[in-house]
């Protein structure tokens, strides 16, 4: 039996011994499947006991020959055929024995199978439950760390705290300026169109002032910080997780929640109210620009109207909300960072999900707080 087209000949010598004669060049680029299939059908016809090789006519070879030999080896192993490697080129024989030196890992994993839909739903549901439990656990750890901080025994570096304060305070000002100014402008435009119909354009000041102070200032600052700082926190902690830096803290007896999460959270909680007040003022300024430019209201009129419509409680509500948002954004960012897996794409996922979680937290908690404030009449 020959198999000329594939660079080898199968010759039966004695009854049950097969001689595989290679010739020409054996590179990876050629497909040797048919040769293997031929071997299989040959074995079905004549029960083989032994395989020998003749490579005197082989001109050149590389990994292509080796993968073929590995296939033959696996085949022989399966059917209890003896494989005599003596006829192989010396290098090939040695490389083959290197490849076979370490037995294959028996707990080998096959590529992931298809999971039925119902199973997927179940797995998803269980995942949600354990995710919620993990989040609760994390919030608990953060609370304990906070308690320790109030007792003065929490371990973190003051220089870290100052750095984070700078990062999420002063360095966030430009973007907060831009966004809240524009939000004030937009509110004024939307209000002006309606109020002009009644000749009540002066009430644009009330609208912008109240909206900014109670809601928009805090929400805008919160969302900006979720996108800017929450994502950064998640990426920082995630990378530390990948590099086993967090493990190094743990084994050194330093609680990573105290050392890494606390200063970040503290910085955000301290800076968010300030950013919120700043955003409020910027928004009111934006409203003033529209009123003065478009509605023929003088700056003094606008100022007086704003002052009359707002009191400190309104600002207090916004500032309180922003402090809550600060905690939530920090928790979302740090939680996702600490949960990060051990790969580079996991870091990206952590950052993304920190932003998503942060924004969901902000909106949901804002709705809850607004309802509560309305009921108790603040």
């Amino acid at each position: 039996m020959t198999n000329d087209t594939y660079g080898l000949k199968y010759i039966i010598v004695k009854q049950d011994t097969l001689l595989v004669q290679f010739y020409g060049s054996w590179e990876v680029s050629d497909d040797r499947r048919p040769a293997l299939d031929a071997l299989k059908s040959l074995h079905q016809k004549t029960r083989l006991k032994k395989v020998e090789f003749d490579t005197r006519k082989l001109s050149a070879w590389n990994s292509g020959l080796l993968t073929f030999l590995l296939n033959i080896h696996a085949f022989c192993e399966k059917h209890n055929i003896e494989m005599a490697c003596a006829g192989l080129p010396q290098g090939a024989e040695r490389i083959l024995s290197l490849a076979l030196a370490v037995p294959e890992n028996k707990n080998a994993r096959s590529a992931p199978e298809k999971v039925p839909f119902v199973d997927k739903v179940g797995i998803w549901g269980l995942g949600q439950i354990s995710a919620a439990a993990e989040m609760m656990g994390f919030i608990g750890e953060v609370s304990i760390a906070c308690l320790k901080m109030f007792k003065g025994s929490a371990r973190f570096r003051m220089s870290d705290l100052l750095l984070f304060i700078q990062q999420c305070g002063a360095q966030a000002l430009p973007i907060v300026t831009l966004i809240s100014l524009l939000v004030g402008l937009i509110l004024a435009f939307v209000g002006a169109v309606q109020l002009q119909m009644f000749g009540a354009q002066i009430y644009v000041a009330n609208l912008v002032g109240l909206a900014m102070a109670r809601e928009m200032g805090a929400i805008m600052a919160g969302i900006i910080m979720a996108g800017r700082t929450g994502a950064a926190f998640a990426a920082q902690l995630g990378t530390m997780q990948v590099n086993e830096e967090i493990d190094a803290f743990k084994t050194m007896g330093i609680d990573p929640v105290e050392f890494l999460v606390l200063p970040r959270m503290l910085a955000l909680v301290l800076m968010m109210p300030l950013l919120c007040i700043y955003a409020d003022l910027m928004g009111i300024f934006g409203g003033a620009l529209v009123s003065i430019g478009m509605l023929d209201i003088s700056a003094v009129e606008y100022y007086n109207q704003t002052k009359a419509s707002l009191n400190l409680t309104h600002f207090g509500v916004g500032v309180f909300k922003s402090a809550v948002f600060g905690i939530l954004v920090a928790i979302a960012g740090c939680l996702r960072g600490m949960q990060c897996g051990r790969s580079s794409s996991a870091v990206g996922e952590a950052a993304t999900s920190a932003v998503v979680t942060g924004i969901i937290f902000i909106i949901v908690s804002d709705a809850a707080m607004t309802i509560i404030f309305t009921i108790i009449g603040i």
Binding site: D31, L70, Q90, I95, A99
Partner: protein, 253 residues
């Protein structure tokens, strides 16, 4: 196969990070089919030298010649063509953490060859079994040990049967038996597949067993202080730093 890999010549190479000179005036040759050892104390610039050789960092001064082409003066296309002949193992493994071992090894095969999926799968399991990782195809790098990551990095470096292999501390983190098997593998890569191998290593046993040429970088004078066959260096080199290194400090400086 058995293409003649170009000889590598290093001429007056000075390496620096900014103003900080790591090594200056390195001049040596790496012949085809050499197993070339780069040695020297920790932090003397071995990994940095490797980065210059493989085209990741431009020299502050001097040349790296592949055949007749000066790598850093060549056109980007030529550089890419030269780099295509390299297989590199990084000191930290540098496996792609979001891909399984099989995907790590097969990625270069998929990108740079037109083999069928079956062929690629067979090649991947050949390369993985050569480094003793048969059956770990579907594991992620974070799920295997440090030494195993190192070996998987080796399998990835060998994926395309490259002409020149650069290994940064391949045996760090390996048990003695695996380290020995690795030496055998490196010898086979050279003898049977005709590769030129450039290795950074501290492993004295393998330096003497497989190396046939070497360069010794000195952290104090910031230049090379010896070059040649490691066994000859051990027998003949007078320099106290080299002697101390090659005898594990037993002949005090």
């Amino acid at each position: 196969m058995q293409k003649i890999a170009p000889k590598i010549e290093i001429r007056d190479l000075t390496m620096a990070y900014g103003d900080f000179v790591i090594q200056h005036d390195l001049t040596f040759d790496i012949a085809t089919k050499d197993i070339f050892i780069i040695m020297g104390g920790s932090g003397c610039g071995k990994s940095t030298l490797l980065r210059h050789l493989v085209g990741l960092k431009a020299p502050a001064k001097g040349q790296v010649l592949y055949g007749n082409t000066s790598f850093w003066e060549a056109l980007p296309q030529e550089q890419e063509k030269i780099m295509r002949t390299f297989g590199i193992l990084y000191q930290s493994g540098a496996l792609w953490s979001s891909l399984t071992l099989a995907e790590n090894v097969s990625l270069p095969l998929k990108e740079f060859s037109n083999f069928s999926d079956t062929q690629i799968r067979e090649l991947v399991s050949l390369k993985l079994s050569l480094v003793g990782l048969a059956g770990f195809e579907e594991f992620y790098p974070s799920e295997i040990s440090g030494g195993m990551q190192k070996r998987a990095g080796l399998a990835r470096a060998m994926a395309l049967d490259p002409e020149i292999l650069f290994f940064d501390e391949p045996s760090a983190g390996l048990d003695p038996v695996s380290a020995r098997r690795l030496d055998d593998l490196i010898l086979e890569l050279r003898d049977s597949l005709g590769a030129t191998v450039v290795i950074v290593t501290h492993e004295l046993a393998s330096i003497f067993a497989i190396g046939n040429n070497a360069v010794f970088l000195d952290p104090e004078t910031r230049t090379m202080i010896a070059t040649g066959n490691p066994n000859t260096l051990l027998a003949e080199c007078e320099h106290p730093t080299v002697r101390s290194f090659l005898t594990r400090g037993e002949e005090a400086e």
